[in-house]
């Protein structure tokens, strides 16, 4: 028994090592992270009434300054199109409803918690992580504030504190990771009086979304936004209007980091291309150096050391000037030992 275990262990270890060296490590890693049970939220824009209580709850849950809850019923705020910023991780916008002008459409926006997040792929120090539960979170201790995640995000979600010099933060919805650790729902889901937000396993909420759009084709268009957009997102939307008109970016099915990572790994590919280039250049250097040395020796044999710099008319210009400048400045690099260099320099002072 013991023996078998040991052998098994060795076999697994060997397999693991082989996989690590041969397989595409990062692809493996991110696939492993995409758990079947990962979570998500369904945003039903036809149910949302635009009370903006989620904005209030989100601020509260993240210790961000907030006006009193009463203020949120002020309808004029909804008249302008807003985006998340350092004062709000989530905002609700209002759009016209062509089917029923009395019931405008409300769209809550926040980080989509992509399945293949561009921000995570882009971050220079790996300060953004895609967790097994589906959330994408930011690490205060790593971030250097380069804002490449903002360039990369296809939903233009992360925001930055432009008004401070010390300790600026990248801010975005963190899927209420802290609250969920304590067994609570995300603050916005928890407070929503109309159940416009459905929290659960992503597979489960997708099923609900499909059900609703199929059962009520008069209310919903047949498109679950986020089901396949850039490889799928944890937060998904259903609506009665084309998502472009709700200012959700039109996106393809391919994960955003796909091309960039393919290029990146192509250039590096386990350091084979750089090392090959290094070896190639080294060989060229060695060959040309020897060729020049023998050419140089030839010349010494034929014209015992001529120092005429300007007599290259009619002669091979490469060899003539090559010879002279080689002696004059070449020695300052890797050719000669330091001591003789110094003497040469003094003697050669033209």
């Amino acid at each position: 028994m013991k023996n078998l275990n040991r052998r098994d262990f060795l076999k697994t270890a060997a397999l693991g090592a082989a996989a690590a060296t041969l397989g595409t490590k990062s692809a493996k890693a991110s696939e492993k992270l995409l758990s079947e049970d990962r979570l998500g939220v369904l945003v039903d824009t036809s149910v949302c009434v635009g009370c903006r209580h989620c904005e209030w709850a989100c601020r509260l849950a993240h210790n961000m300054p907030s006006p009193a809850l009463d203020y949120y019923s002020n309808p004029t705020v909804l008249k302008e199109f807003r985006r998340p910023d350092k004062t709000a991780l989530t905002v609700v916008n209002e759009f016209e409803n062509d089917k029923n002008p009395n019931l405008p459409i409300h769209v809550k926006i926040q980080c989509m918690h992509c399945d293949h997040p561009a921000c995570v792929s882009a971050c220079i120090v790996g300060a953004l992580t895609k967790n097994e539960d589906g959330s994408v979170v930011w690490d205060d201790g790593k971030c250097i504030g380069c804002r490449y995640c903002m360039v990369a995000c296809q939903f233009q979600i992360p925001t930055y504190d432009y008004d401070v010099s010390i300790d600026p933060h990248i801010r975005k919805c963190d899927f209420c990771t802290e609250r969920r650790k304590e067994g609570q729902l995300p603050a916005c889901v928890n407070i929503c009086p109309n159940e416009a937000l459905v929290f659960g396993k992503r597979s489960e909420i997708l099923r609900i979304a499909k059900n609703r759009t199929k059962r009520k084709p008069d209310i919903y268009i047949n498109h679950i936004y986020g089901e396949s957009e850039i490889g799928g997102t944890s937060w998904v939307y259903i609506a009665g209007k084309d998502f472009n008109e709700l200012k959700m970016p039109p996106l393809g099915k391919n994960p955003a980091p796909g091309i960039s990572e393919a290029i990146q790994h192509g250039i590096f590919a386990y350091f084979v291309p750089p090392v090959t280039l290094y070896a190639l250049l080294g060989t060229i250097m060695w060959v040309t150096k020897r060729r020049n040395e023998s050419a140089d020796k030839d010349k010494h044999d034929h014209h015992s050391d001529s120092h005429d710099h300007h007599s290259d008319s009619g002669r091979d210009p490469y060899r003539t000037s090559g010879h002279n400048t080689y002696r004059d400045s070449g020695h300052n690099t890797y050719r000669d030992s330091g001591l003789s260099t110094d003497k040469d320099t003094k003697g050669d002072n033209l």
């Binding site: 250097i144 360039v151 939903f155 970016p249 955003a256 590096f268 280039l277 330091g338």
Partner: protein, 392 residues
């Protein structure tokens, strides 16, 4: 003919103007570090990258490419008659990359965490690769420059007063360093070339991940190749440009023999670059975007036009023979590549939601101009003090 310190006084009216520009930039820099990026720049949540990344970092790295192209030519392919340009090009690359590193520190929000990429790695990130390669390459450039320093002081160590007794050991140390460097320098020279090809191309990968936020005229999977080719193409023109300006400023005869040889190599490289760039347009069917004749279309035509004119100029022998024409043609290449980097990082970036289009603020421009002015001043000081430029 060997490299020697230039005998010229430091201050001239031009130098004073540069000093004023540098000072102006430093004032805005101070504001940036006291009150944050928003106080000086027009950057916001829609446009996170602007002039400093586009010009100071991206164009800076491209225009410092003369360092690795000349090292490849002079040391790897061993065309020794080019040695006269290796040192000035090395100095430009060294100062250029130092300037880039400084610009990065200015632009990143948490400048005090600049060292994080050294220990926190993300192999998927193009920016990580650029960052690491630039850091290592900069170290390599300083090592490559060391022999110029040892050469300056060897045999001339003259410490004041009681330190006099250390003169001999110091000199011995220098000699040891110098001989050690001479023997190992080839390692660094090749490493420099490899590192350069890597990060020059990765700079092109940077914007690929922006996806549809990049204008289709520039968004293409061959961006890394285009960036590498344009960096190689601008290397020699940049050396020519600087050499001609330096000889003008220091009242020396231009090194026409070397410069026209360098010039004759520019056309083929530009040709390859243009072929890939225009070929890619056919493949991705981008011509329809040019026919829109909007700002991006004009900017694209401007950058491509500059390179095409330069290409035609460099094709003719006349150009490579006359300093004036050579200067003009080289300037066109530099302008073309500079514009290409500005286009890629600023013009092509169209945020999804953006009420006001980004245009650099006066403060951003001041910092960029100020840093360039400072760079020129340091270059001038170094060539007056150290043996960099070869002249009779």
């Amino acid at each position: 003919m060997k490299p020697a310190p230039v005998k010229h006084r430091f201050f001239t009216p031009g130098v004073i103007i540069l000093a004023v520009l540098a000072l102006n930039g430093l004032i805005f820099l101070a504001v940036r570090f006291i009150s944050g990026l928003g106080a000086v720049t027009n950057l916001d949540n829609n446009t996170p990258w602007g002039l400093w990344i586009g010009v100071d970092v991206a164009a800076g790295v491209a225009l410092a490419a003369g360092g690795f192209t000349s090292a490849a030519l002079g040391h790897v392919i061993h065309r020794e008659h080019y040695h006269a340009i290796v040192r000035p090009a090395l100095l430009t690359a060294l100062l250029g990359y130092t300037f880039v590193a400084f610009a990065v520190c200015v632009d990143i929000g948490r400048f005090y965490y600049i060292w994080h990429p050294l220990i926190m790695w993300n192999g998927n990130s193009a920016l990580f690769e650029v960052g690491i390669c630039v850091m290592i390459y900069m170290t390599v450039l300083y090592i490559e420059f060391l022999p110029i320093v040892t050469e300056k002081f060897m045999g001339k160590v003259n410490l004041p007063g009681f330190l006099e007794t250390f003169n001999e050991p110091a000199d011995k140390l220098l000699r040891m360093l110098n001989s050690g460097l001479s023997k190992t320098m080839f390692i660094f020279i090749i490493a420099g070339v490899v590192l350069s090809t890597l990060h020059q191309s990765s700079l092109g990968t940077l914007m690929v991940i922006a996806g549809q936020k990049m204008h289709p005229l520039w968004q293409t999977p061959v961006l890394p190749l285009l960036f590498l080719l344009s960096a190689i193409a601008v290397g020699f023109p940049m050396i020519i440009f600087e050499s001609l300006i330096a000889s003008r400023s220091f009242k020396m005869k231009p090194e026409m023999k070397i410069l026209s040889r360098l010039g004759s190599m520019v056309a083929p490289i530009l040709g390859v670059y243009l072929a890939v760039k225009i070929g890619d347009m056919f493949i991705s069917d981008d011509f329809k975007y040019i026919l829109k004749f909007d700002v991006p279309a004009w900017m694209f035509m401007a950058e491509t036009g500059l390179i095409i004119i330069a290409f035609v100029l460099f094709l003719s022998k006349e150009t490579t023979r006359s300093p004036g024409r050579l200067f003009l043609a080289s300037s066109l290449v530099i302008a073309g590549v500079l514009l290409n980097r500005i286009n890629n990082f600023i013009v092509a970036y169209k945020p999804l939601y953006d009420p006001v289009a980004y245009f650099p603020s006066f403060g951003e421009i001041s910092v960029t101009v100020g840093c360039i002015a400072l760079l020129v001043l340091i270059y001038r000081a170094v060539v007056i003090y150290f043996p960099v430029i070869s002249h009779k």
